[in-house]
């Protein structure tokens, strides 16, 4: 590991100023991903700016009945918060589905949004990787890719985004706030994560030198009936091979509102707007849920070893929407 300096920041402007002064500096939150990548040699910062003690650790109701979540709130505190559990249960479930109790105590919301893919080629310095070394190639296309993306991929990268939390945030139209040396800014989560295209190494639209300060969830009554379901290769403590955050409002057996976002199928949390459009106004039936799932998955491009994800996601959509319909009927 490269030697590095360490500074602890106590206010946002101080943290941003420190980052601006050193192009090789990185913010340190919980460190659960960054330190791992530093040990692997993927990240080689010259300076770590510890932002864990910034006054950004609150979860508050907004005036319109949404939630404002500070960037240094830990995963544990987010998932345990009564208003998160009451108003956006799928978000609490998504956070609880990720990592372990130890890691959730350390990890922060800001870091969770910016965590890197767990594609094995990305962390293996002996292999090419367009995300780590732009233009070097993507061995996953012809190699180990059974857990790689099927939606929104490019010939340059098929890695998936690993966050569970971000999938629920995508379903609920989260807005990410940040601060730069010049001014504060905001990005809706749809614009925050960039398509892969020819630049898999550029993952977000966050301006250079910016610090994420928080996430705002708009009011969403539909979220009260929401679920996160995650499929993985063992019962617990593993990254998803497919996941879904879903919210559903059914009245008189007709779908009034629906939110669907998928995890572990794309380079970013995947909001399933095509499926949502099919569902609005349609009967809340297994047939309609299947048709909606197919509408989204029509664009899927599977590789030889990950075609099972198309079936998996189809079945997840039908199962979770069916469960939410039954829950609403109770």
């Amino acid at each position: 590991m490269r030697e590095f300096g360490y500074e602890r920041a106590f206010d946002v402007s101080g943290a941003v100023a420190l980052l601006g002064a050193d192009p090789d500096a990185r913010f340190l939150g919980g460190g659960t991903n960054l330190l791992d990548l530093m040990k692997a040699g993927v990240e080689r910062p010259a300076l770590l700016i510890d932002v864990r003690e910034l006054p950004l650790d609150g979860v508050e109701l907004t005036d319109d009945g949404g939630l404002r979540i500070g960037a240094t709130v830990t995963n544990s505190d987010l998932a345990a918060h009564p208003e998160v559990r009451r108003r956006y249960p799928a978000l609490a479930q998504a956070v609880l589905a990720g990592a372990s109790g130890q890691l959730r105590n350390m990890a922060t919301v800001g870091g969770n949004l910016l965590q890197r893919t767990r594609c094995g080629y990305f962390t293996d310095l002996s292999k090419p990787c367009n995300k780590r070394a732009p233009g070097s190639g993507c061995p996953a296309l012809t190699g180990e890719h059974h857990n790689h993306a099927i939606l929104g991929t490019s010939e340059h990268c098929v890695a998936t985004h690993p966050s569970d939390m971000a999938v629920a945030l995508a379903a609920f139209d989260a807005v990410i706030s940040y601060e730069t040396a010049d001014r504060p800014g905001e990005l809706p989560i749809d614009e925050f994560y960039l398509p892969v295209g020819e630049t898999p190494h550029i993952e977000t639209a966050l301006p250079a030198g910016a610090l994420i300060t928080g996430v705002t969830l708009p009011q969403a009554p539909v979220a009260i009936h929401s679920r996160y379901r995650k499929v993985r290769e063992r019962a617990s403590y593993a990254f998803a091979i497919g996941s879904i955050a879903a919210a559903l409002d059914v009245q008189d057996d007709v779908v009034r509102e629906v939110r669907l976002a998928y995890g572990a199928v794309a380079s970013r949390p995947w909001r399933a707007r095509a499926a949502e459009q099919v569902l609005i106004g349609s009967p809340a039936s297994a047939e309609a849920f299947a048709a909606a799932a197919d509408a989204e998955l029509a664009a899927a491009e599977a590789l030889p070893e990950n075609g099972y994800k198309v079936t998996l996601m189809h079945n997840l959509v039908v199962a979770v929407l069916t469960a939410l319909t039954e829950e609403a009927a109770r």
């Binding site: 590095f4 360490y6 919980g30 659960t32 330190l35 040990k39 559990r85 249960p89 372990s100």
Partner: protein, 185 residues
Amino acid sequence: MAPSTSSAITLNINGEKYTLPVDHRTTLLDALREQLDLTGTKKGCDQGQCGACTVLLDGRRAVSCLQLAVAAEGRAITTIEGVADGERLHPVQQAFLDLDGYQCGYCTPGQICSALAVIEEHAAGWPSAVTDDVRPDAGVPALTAEEIRERMSGNLCRCGAYVSIVQAVAQAAEAAGAEVKEAAL
């Protein structure tokens, strides 16, 4: 000017203050074991995946292999050496002993630190990934074997002593006042 890559820090461990020089690359795990001779905390994977190095930071469990020592300054650190009350074992330690919650013992300090926190988290009303209804009105779930296994899933045991570990956690939790059900699975 290049920033300094080392610092003299003071760590608060088990209620005692330790002042030591650290290269910033030093993890809390390595500072404990290699510099402070507190070798109860074990190094397993060194990648945050096995839980052998679990300690408590400000009362909450964390993996010390992904925690920089320099960033732990100012926090209350509890290691396995600080869990017992003198010669008297903590009830969680006693439960692991009574119920054979280990075989080789290497993962045990991490298992015990994690179990201490699991009991606290449950008492605080935290749901888990297997809690069917996470909404606060649904109340706190009873600690079933399924709940304990999920909550302890960040601690691996290569000997496979899980059956006894689950029972030890259940016994200690029940003694601490938790509602425990169907824990003998």
